[in-house]
């Protein structure tokens, strides 16, 4: 390319009036072997740009990044394991509940039903209550008889004490 055109382009470049394409042309010119001697000091700048442009990321970069994208699948498997452990806990609780019901049933079988159960029939319940009250009344009667014996003893004791006092 004519060095005069390049000089004009370069002037536009310093004044920030070049397009991206014109800047590309300048870069191509200055990184070639045909740079005019009077422009050689500028060539280093474009060579620097070119060198910077050649810097590349890690060779295995794409593979590493793609691996990291697969992380959500790992998260999915962890959520699967969480579900599994929840199921395990639920199964444990279920076994405990069933065992409790079975044991309760066994206990109910070993005890007499009348102790555990209540009377649904009001007449039967009345009769049973009457029986219980009679039993209590009978016990009270016996207790009263025993208590009257104690009173008799107390009276006898007082009589003996009075006689002793009279003799003295």
């Amino acid at each position: 390319m004519d060095s005069e055109i390049i000089k004009q382009l370069l002037e536009k470049y310093w004044n920030c009036q070049t397009t991206v394409d014109e800047e590309r042309q300048l870069c191509q010119y200055f990184t070639s072997d045909n740079v005019a001697p009077e422009l050689s000091h500028v060539a280093e700048l474009f060579r620097y740009f070119n060198e910077e442009k050649s810097k590349k990321s890690d060779v295995n970069f794409a593979m590493k990044v793609t691996k990291r994208f697969q992380k959500p699948e790992v998260a999915r498997t962890t959520s699967l394991t969480t579900i599994k452990s929840v199921f395990r806990i639920a199964a444990g609780i279920f076994v405990l509940v069933v065992a409790t019901i079975l044991i309760r049933n066994e206990i109910q079988k070993t005890y007499p039903k009348e102790i555990i159960d209540t009377y649904v029939d009001p007449k039967l319940a009345f009769e049973e209550t009457k029986k219980a009250l009679f039993l209590i009344a009978e016990s009270f009667g016996k207790a009263k008889n025993e208590a009257s014996k104690i009173i008799m003893f107390e009276k006898a004791e007082e009589t003996v004490k009075d006689n002793i006092v009279k003799k003295n």
Partner: protein, 168 residues
């Protein structure tokens, strides 16, 4: 968007993203890591309606790299990160020998630019983005992009003319 489409259209920009992250962080390993994180983010947002996926990815790269720099700055409070990954301005004797290389001098010129100027010149002259795209990536107005690019190129031109007239 499926994985194949993602690999063909989005992962293709991996080197641009890497170079930008490298420019900001200065460390290839950190840059690779950041870009991987960016792609994971982009993959997770693959169903979002984003106009320019590449420019958006570059913007995320910039933010992620700046976050990393802030984190590193906090972790090592005494280290000056304004010139991380960039050649030192005080060259060692070995470096002085390397300075004979014009390319290194261009790097030194780039170090002398402000962060915005460096980023704008990188996105325009190395990656070939339009002003609008640069504005979107760097979250700058069109005028700010043009001003930064003009100032950056003017500084570079000035330095190159110095080399030309005085030598290194």
């Amino acid at each position: 968007m499926d994985l194949e489409t993602f690999q063909n259209f989005v992962l293709n920009s991996k080197n641009k993203l890497f170079r930008f992250a490298l420019k900001l962080l200065g460390d290839p390993d950190d840059a690779n890591e950041i870009v991987q994180e960016v792609f994971v983010k982009v993959w997770n947002q693959r169903d979002s309606k984003i106009k320019n996926m590449e420019a958006w990815s570059m913007q995320i790269t910039k933010n992620a790299a700046l976050d990393r720099l802030r984190y590193l700055k906090k972790a090592h409070n005494n280290v000056d990160f304004s010139t991380v990954g960039l050649p030192s301005l005080e060259p060692s004797p070995h470096k002085k020998m390397e300075m004979e290389d014009n390319m290194n001098y261009i790097r030194e010129i780039m170090v002398g630019l402000s962060e915005n100027q460096r980023n704008v010149i990188h996105l325009r002259d190395i990656e070939g983005y339009s002003y609008q795209e640069i504005g979107h990536i760097l979250e700058l107005s069109l005028d700010q992009v043009k001003v930064n690019l003009f100032r950056a190129r003017s500084k570079v031109k000035e330095q190159l003319l110095k080399i030309n007239s005085h030598g290194l």
